[in-house]
Structure formats: structure tokens, C-alpha cells
């Protein structure tokens, strides 16, 4: 067990808390940088998708995990970013400009969604964002002059100062840089006033308000940041697939994103990455296991949906804190070995919660 003896306030604020952090995250960084030279092409593509989904997941994590506002229509923001990027890239707009525009437009859409979201909460917010998702999907399908409708839209390869970023190695690095910068941005927000205001709203709106937190402003901000990150992810997604169509941004995609944050672990930044790894590797694992299963099960349609459903139910019942929560327990077990107690992580139930703000 590691005890950190704090001797300055700066130590309390710093991102890397101790030598272990520096070492392990440094090692992870090195591995990610050398990956294109050691990992086969196919796995590099999967790693790129993990990074893209992690960026989107970070956004939804901020909204659902840290601000307590659930969105069941997050694919709409992903789509808004993807189509903005697609249209701008095809017009020849430089890649970084298009990327910023995609994030900006998604953020603007996020602000629009936040307006009704300020008035409803819980299950009603879920319904509102769900229907918003359907509306946006319909817009993608019907606005044919811009989006190409159901026929889809081909996206040209990204270029920057004459350099082709379309190769899988180059694009992997683009995604890596965006993912690292987004993570740092989110971590910075979370260790300052803005992030604490989000957490305050999640845990008790009424006392957040009496601490001087402007609920409407911070909820809108959370929606905007979340949508901007989804837009960034969407823009990268559009380039990675180089073809987008409305059905990629339907309800299934939204549910996948929700699955990502819940299984990753609500309320943890790590959870966005762990959830993304889960979301990308799960179909692979299922298709690998098909070979070992009897044909009746292995070839049955809907196997993936069934497995996803079971996994989600299992997580909600046995590990509400997700993969990251499980990791914390494993880590504590190893650190305390052989003194780990079974009830160590048992949370006390509290019955002192009063009504939420109406």
C-alpha cells in the first residue's frame, strides 16, 4: 500500500501523483508511440478505433459520469462531427480547421440540446435525448444536398500542408495526439473549479446551487464539452471509415456509447479508455469464439446483442463501478496481499438523501 506524504499544495494538484504514475504512463506512452512499427496493420486499425471511441467516451463520461446527465442520443453529436468533417474535407478545407469546425458545430448542437435538458431530468432527459437522436438521424437521411442522404457520403483522405495523413500509420498518430490532448483537457477541468462544479451538480443539485453554482450554465457547458468531444471523435471516425451514412449514427450507436461508459466505469477518466477497449475488442472475441461454439449457437443471428446485454446486466448487478472499479479492487488486493478483507469496498447505504431540486 502506498501512502503519499504530502508536503505542499502543488503535490495535491499535480496529475502524476507518484513515481509509479510517471513510470507506467510513460511506458504506456512509449508503447503507443512505437505501436505502428510493431503491431500488425489490422490491429493498428483496431487501436485507432479504440482511440476514436475513447475520445467520444471521454465526452459522454464527462456528461454522464461527472455531471450526472444521461444522454441516449449521443450518436447524434458523433454524426454532426462526422458530417461536418466529411463535407468540409470534400470542399478542401485544411484538416485541423475542419476538425475544429466539427467540434465547434457539435458543441453548438450540444448547447441547443441542453436548453430542454435544463428543464427535465432523469428518465425524462433520457427520452428527450433519445428523440433528439432520432431527429438528427432523420436530418442526415433527408438533407440529401449536403449529406448525400441514405446513399452516404465519401470522405476524402485528410491532408495537412501537403502531407497525406490518410495512411493508417499517419492517421493513427493524429488520433493519438487528439486523444492525449482531450484527456489532458478533461483532467485539467476536473482538477479545477469547473470540474468540481460538475461533480457537485451530479451529487446534489440543491446544495450545488446554494454553493453559488449556476446550474443552467454548468449543465449547458457540460453538454457543450461532451458534444464537442463526440464531434471530434466523429470527425476522426469519418476519415477512418472514409464513408459515412445515417445508419452509422442510429440508436444502436448511442447505446454502444452508453455501454462504453457504464462498462468502463462511470465517474472515471480511465473508464472511457477501458470501455473503448471493451467495445472494440468484444466483437472480435465473439467472432473468435464462434469457431468453438456449436453451429446452433455460433451461427445464430443476434449473438452479439445477447452477449452485450448479458455483460451489461452482469456489470450493473455485480460491478456498478465498471472495469475501472474492478481494477481498483484488484490493485488493492495486490497491494495489501495477504491482508485484503472481503468487505473493504462495501459501501454504506445512506438513507439521508432528501428530495432533489424540482
Amino acid at each position: 500500500m502506498r501512502f503519499i506524504f504530502k508536503t505542499s499544495y502543488a503535490q495535491d494538484i499535480t496529475l502524476a501523483r507518484h513515481g509509479g504514475h510517471v513510470f507506467w504512463y510513460g511506458l504506456l506512452g512509449v508503447l503507443l508511440v512505437v505501436a505502428p512499427w510493431v503491431v500488425p496493420e489490422y490491429w493498428l486499425a483496431q487501436l485507432t478505433f479504440v482511440l476514436i471511441y475513447a475520445i467520444v467516451g471521454l465526452g459522454l463520461m464527462l456528461l454522464a459520469g461527472f455531471t450526472g446527465q444521461f444522454s441516449i442520443g449521443h450518436a447524434a453529436f458523433l454524426g454532426a462531427g462526422a458530417y461536418t468533417q466529411g463535407v468540409l474535407a470534400n470542399m478542401g478545407v485544411p484538416f485541423p480547421v475542419a476538425l475544429l469546425a466539427a467540434a465547434g458545430l457539435s458543441a453548438a448542437v450540444g448547447v441547443v440540446v441542453a436548453l430542454p435538458a435544463l428543464r427535465v431530468k432523469g428518465i425524462y432527459l433520457g427520452i428527450a435525448t433519445l428523440s433528439f437522436g432520432f431527429i438528427v438521424e432523420e436530418v442526415f437521411a433527408r438533407w440529401e444536398s449536403v449529406t448525400g442522404g441514405n446513399a452516404g457520403l465519401h470522405v476524402k483522405a485528410p491532408h495537412l500542408f501537403g502531407v497525406d495523413l490518410g495512411s493508417s500509420e499517419a492517421f493513427y498518430f493524429v488520433c493519438l495526439v487528439v486523444a492525449v490532448l482531450s484527456t489532458l483537457g478533461i483532467l485539467n477541468l476536473l482538477r479545477s473549479t469547473t470540474g468540481r462544479a460538475f461533480v457537485a451538480i451530479r451529487d446534489s443539485e440543491i446544495s450545488a446551487q446554494s454553493m453559488g453554482i449556476h446550474l443552467a450554465r454548468y449543465k449547458t457547458l457540460s453538454f457543450a464539452i461532451s458534444a464537442a468531444l463526440a464531434g471530434l471523435g466523429g470527425a476522426l471516425y469519418a476519415h477512418k471509415l472514409s464513408f459515412i451514412s445515417p445508419d452509422q449514427f442510429n440508436i444502436i450507436q448511442s447505446i454502444d456509447l452508453l455501454l462504453l461508459v457504464v462498462i468502463g466505469g462511470l465517474g472515471s477518466v480511465h473508464g472511457a479508455f477501458l470501455g473503448a477497449i471493451f467495445l472494440i475488442s468484444m466483437p472480435q472475441l465473439i467472432s473468435l469464439s464462434k469457431g468453438f461454439l456449436p453451429d446452433v449457437i455460433g451461427q445464430a443471428p443476434g449473438l452479439q446483442g445477447l452477449v452485450y446485454g448479458l455483460v451489461l446486466i452482469a456489470f450493473v448487478m455485480f460491478e456498478p463501478l465498471g472495469l475501472y472499479g474492478r481494477w481498483l479492487k484488484i490493485r488493492t488486493y495486490l497491494q495489501l496481499f495477504p491482508f485484503y478483507r472481503k468487505g473493504l469496498f462495501k459501501r454504506q447505504k445512506s438513507f439521508t438523501k432528501s428530495d432533489r431540486l424540482r
Binding site: Y9, A10, D12, I13, G185, N188, L189, R191, S192, T193, T194, G195, R196, A197, V199, A200, R202, D203, S204, I206, S207, A208, Q209, S210, M211, G212, I213, H214, L215, L221, G267, R347, Q348, S350, T352, K353, S354, L357
Partner: protein, 269 residues
């Protein structure tokens, strides 16, 4: 500067058919501990919720004199109250459960420590300085209320008595001029109640913060209060020193009933 801090005039609020607060007027002076007492349902917490702008009064006004000039509190949005210098605690404890004690206190610094979204996104030196300043202030409050032991503990795992103190600490972190305490001693044992009385006196005398509190424990009330307002069914019964109010005939009637009431219940043999 007058010695008036907050004044409520003919305050009324109606929820459907219930007149929860009926023409209540009182004044809180600078540096005093002013206590609201009364049986359950008297409208004490409703008065608190009117001051912290969670409820909108049906009639009447609340004026804030904290900044030297009279300010109509009813015109202010709920989130602006903390910045004016009014902090509160809640009867049922409303802490941020899934955050540490230090985090809760830092949220209390919200109105003092923000450096804006873009600066915080890049964590500029200004943000770093503001974060350190917020921690220094929080540490002073931790020192005052002896919370060192619980600094990095999650609130969700803390016992009730400690949570009560954490909530007080969080309110103090906003650097209020007026502190609203909703039943500070409810759920505390005798020892913890004595600590609370001690701290309330400290807050009043050392920090110079005025306190408006709702309390049932008359020992605590008489120990710390300068003036007491007794309420029943939304109306003011009596106002004065703790001793005066305790001996007021109407107050005794509200709590204990009258002799007639009892005699009517007596079974005739």
C-alpha cells in the same frame, strides 16, 4: 453602516391550500446568533428556503444589508445568494457524497476560485495559483473544525456526526457574512452537540459571522442564541432572549397545549 444584516417583512408563502409562512417579520443583526424555534411544521425550514431562494414568497420581502446598501433578495437568482455572503446547511445533510471531504470544501470555494473555462482547460499559472489559494483557505477551516483526520475520506463512508461537521465546514468555506444552520444538532449525541455549541460560539465571536439557525435542542439554543423567534403554524409567536421566549405563555401553549385540552380528554368515571 447600520447593524442590520437581513430583514424579512411580512413574509408569506402558500403551497396550494397550506399557508406555510404567514406574515412573518424579523431582523437579523450583525454579529448575533438568531434562532428560529417551533414545533414541527411551524415553517422554520420554509423561511430558510425563502432566504436561499429555493422557494418564491407569495408576498412580503427579504432585504439584505450585508454590502452596506439595502438589496432586495427576492430579485436575486438562487445561485447568486452564496456570492452575496449567505451560506447554509441542510436539515438532511446535502453533501457531495462521491467526493472527498477536501473536495466538498473546495466546492464551497466556488464563488471565490473560478478562473474561467479556457484557463482551466489549459490549467494556466493563474488557475494553479487559485487552486492553491482555495486549498489554503479550506485548510484553515479544516483546522478550525478538527477535520484533519477525514480530509481525504469519501463522504459516502463517513458517520453522520462527521458529515454534519463537514457540511458546516463547507458552508464556512464560502466565507459567509450570514450562516444559515438548519438543525445543527439533530442526530448528534450530547458530546457532539457540545462541540457544535462551542463551534457556533467560535464562528460568531472569532470569525464575526452572524448565524441564523433552526434548532430544537433548547439547551443548545439558550447556550448560544442572542435572540430567539418562536413560530407555530407559519406565524410568529414570540421574539426575545431565550429566557423570555421560553417563558412566553403562547410558546408553552404551542408546545405543551393548555390545561383545557387535557381535561377534555379525561375519561369521566
Amino acid at each position: 453602516m447600520s447593524d442590520l444584516l437581513l430583514s424579512a417583512t411580512d413574509l408569506s408563502v402558500r403551497f396550494g391550500g397550506v399557508l406555510a409562512v404567514n406574515k412573518v417579520s424579523f431582523e437579523v443583526r450583525r454579529g448575533e446568533v438568531f434562532t428560529l424555534i417551533g414545533p414541527n411544521g411551524a415553517g422554520k425550514t420554509t423561511v430558510f428556503n425563502l432566504i436561499s431562494r429555493i422557494y418564491q414568497p407569495t408576498a412580503g420581502s427579504i432585504t439584505w444589508h450585508g454590502d452596506g446598501s439595502a438589496l432586495n433578495l427576492i430579485d436575486q437568482p438562487p445561485h447568486a445568494i452564496a456570492a452575496l455572503g449567505i451560506a447554509r446547511t441542510f436539515q438532511n445533510i446535502e453533501l457531495f457524497e462521491h467526493a472527498t471531504v477536501l473536495h466538498n470544501l473546495l466546492i464551497g470555494r466556488h464563488t471565490h476560485s473560478g478562473t474561467g473555462f479556457w484557463r482551466e482547460l489549459f490549467f494556466t499559472p493563474a488557475t494553479r495559483r487559485s487552486e492553491i489559494a482555495a486549498r489554503e483557505k479550506a485548510e484553515q477551516v479544516i483546522e478550525l473544525l478538527d477535520l484533519q483526520h477525514h480530509r481525504d475520506a469519501m463522504v459516502a463512508g463517513l458517520p453522520y456526526g462527521v458529515r454534519k461537521v463537514v457540511e458546516l465546514a463547507r458552508a464556512l468555506c464560502t466565507e459567509p457574512k450570514l450562516l444559515l444552520l438548519d438543525e445543527p444538532s439533530s442526530g448528534l449525541n450530547v458530546e457532539e452537540t457540545n462541540d457544535m455549541a462551542f463551534w457556533i460560539a467560535d464562528i460568531q465571536q472569532e470569525l464575526g459571522i452572524s448565524v441564523l439557525m433552526v434548532e430544537h435542542d433548547m439547551t443548545l439554543v439558550s447556550k448560544v442564541s442572542d435572540r430567539v423567534l418562536a413560530m407555530n403554524q407559519g406565524e410568529v409567536l414570540a421574539l426575545g432572549t431565550p429566557r423570555e421566549v421560553q417563558n412566553d405563555a403562547r410558546v408553552i401553549e404551542a408546545y405543551l397545549g393548555t390545561v383545557d385540552d387535557v381535561s377534555s380528554l379525561r375519561r369521566v368515571a
